[in-house]
């Protein structure tokens, strides 16, 4: 592709925005989902005397998977976001014009 100068700076600016704003926002959503997912419901379904067919343990098994999926997804998104910010921060030092354009875009994102 060989982008340089202003074009490269704009592209890096987009990468920075993804890493600084967009992916952290999605990670926050996943954190909310994880935080609102119960750890278990079997405490509420428990009963004695062999009454019914307690579905609590099965529900807990599904909750385990939901908790793991949302937790791991948030974790990955935050680390990818960090990687994109590093990319933007470090890459611009290879090209002054790109750096100038990136600085301009970063200022907009950080405002």
């Amino acid at each position: 592709m060989g982008l340089t100068g202003t074009e490269l700076g704009a592209e890096i600016g987009n990468i920075y925005k993804m890493g600084k704003e967009v992916l952290p926002g999605v990670a926050d959503d996943y954190n909310d989902a994880w935080a609102n997912t119960p750890a278990a419901v079997s405490g509420s379904t428990s009963r004695g005397g062999g009454l019914g067919d307690d579905p609590g343990p099965k529900m807990d098994a599904l909750l385990d998977k939901l908790n793991k999926a949302t937790f791991d997804t948030e974790d990955a998104l935050r680390d990818v976001a960090q990687a994109l910010v590093w990319t933007a921060d470090d890459y611009v030092f290879t090209d002054q014009a790109a750096k100038d354009e990136f600085d301009r875009k970063r200022k907009k994102v950080d405002e």
């Binding site: 909310d32 119960p38 998104l77 990818v80």
Partner: protein
């Protein structure tokens, strides 16, 4: 308000007293008590014991509400947040979360970079993120409805126990009435509500297993769903011209019917949840994308050719 099963021992005591009173009314010093009028104190006082620690429907509210909050975050498109018993012609529509498409957009931004990690992120993570979120949403959808169905089972059971235990006392008090017709069929057992809530909104989801879970949902809906609840299935208990022993026998039979309803309802709920677990177990990578290589690149290597090689 939900009937408190802690009231059942008191109801059993009232029933026992009414049974003893009925027996006393028949006592004749010459011939003793009337046949079938003497009941066992132990049997009557313990008649509701199996239900004393039945789960309370309100104990599931927090879980169902938490799951709905999570669903709002993972919804890739709008959805109907109604639960069992809500009127189908009054959908409770919730919007999708547009933030989720941001991961795909990030992948597009990274696409022009030439490193292996950047390519892998675009192909294996960004593009697959929204369909994976849809799979996660489906699992939340199934579980929320299963939790609500479980609450409905116990709500129905408690309603039945409340009515049955009150009606049994009244029936016993009127056992010697000349006209018992008014009390015939006074005891009834309503079917539990276990409809899981109709078809799973699978828009964008890739796991084929949701069709299996959805099929389970349909079975649950038609097997014991709202239709039967509305019919209020009457259990024709033969109480006309009854005597105390017969009334106790019929109460025990009605309790057995309630137990059967609870068991069959929970079996359906358990099966649907188990289907969801199996669906996920068979395709975990479609339910939770593998951690992208980009997430683990050290800063000093971030724009090496193996990672974000450049544009």
């Amino acid at each position: 308000m939900t009937f408190d099963v802690a009231d059942l021992p008191g109801r059993a005591q009232e029933l026992n007293k009414a049974a003893n009173d009925a027996a006393s009314d028949t006592f004749d010093p010459q011939i003793g008590y009337a046949p079938n009028y003497v009941t066992s104190d132990d049997e009557v006082l313990g008649i509701y014991n199996d239900f004393l620690d039945a789960p309370a429907p309100e104990d599931f509210s927090w879980a169902a509400e938490g799951l709905l909050k999570a669903m709002r975050k993972l919804a890739t498109s709008g959805f109907n947040a109604n639960k069992q018993g809500d009127k189908p012609d009054h959908p409770n529509l919730e919007p999708g979360n547009n933030d989720l498409t941001g991961v795909d957009a990030a992948g597009v931004e990274v696409e022009d970079w030439t490193g292996d990690a950047a390519d892998a992120f675009f192909l294996n993570y960004g593009e697959k993120f929204v369909p994976t979120a849809s799979n996660q949403f489906c699992a939340y959808y199934v579980l929320r409805h299963a939790v609500n169905a479980e609450a409905a089972v116990w709500q129905t059971a408690r309603d039945d126990l409340d009515k049955l235990s009150k009606d049994a006392i009244e029936q016993m008090r009127h056992v010697a009435d000349s006209n018992q017709d008014d009390w015939t069929n006074a005891l009834s057992v309503a079917g539990a509500v276990v409809a899981i809530g109709g078809a799973i909104p699978t828009a964008g989801a890739t796991l084929s297993g949701w069709a299996v879970v959805g099929a389970g949902v349909t079975v649950a809906s038609t097997g014991m769903g709202l239709a039967k609840k509305e019919e209020k299935k009457k259990d024709p208990l033969a109480l006309a011209n009854g005597n105390p022993q017969e009334i106790i026998r019929e109460v025990k039979r009605a309790l057995g019917e309630i137990k059967k309803e609870i068991k069959s309802g929970e079996e359906e709920i358990k099966r649907v949840v188990e289907d969801a677990v199996n669906t996920i177990d068979g395709s975990w990578k479609e339910f939770c994308l593998p951690r992208p290589a980009l997430a683990d690149v050290p800063r000093k290597d971030i724009y090496s050719p193996e990672n974000m090689g450049g544009v």
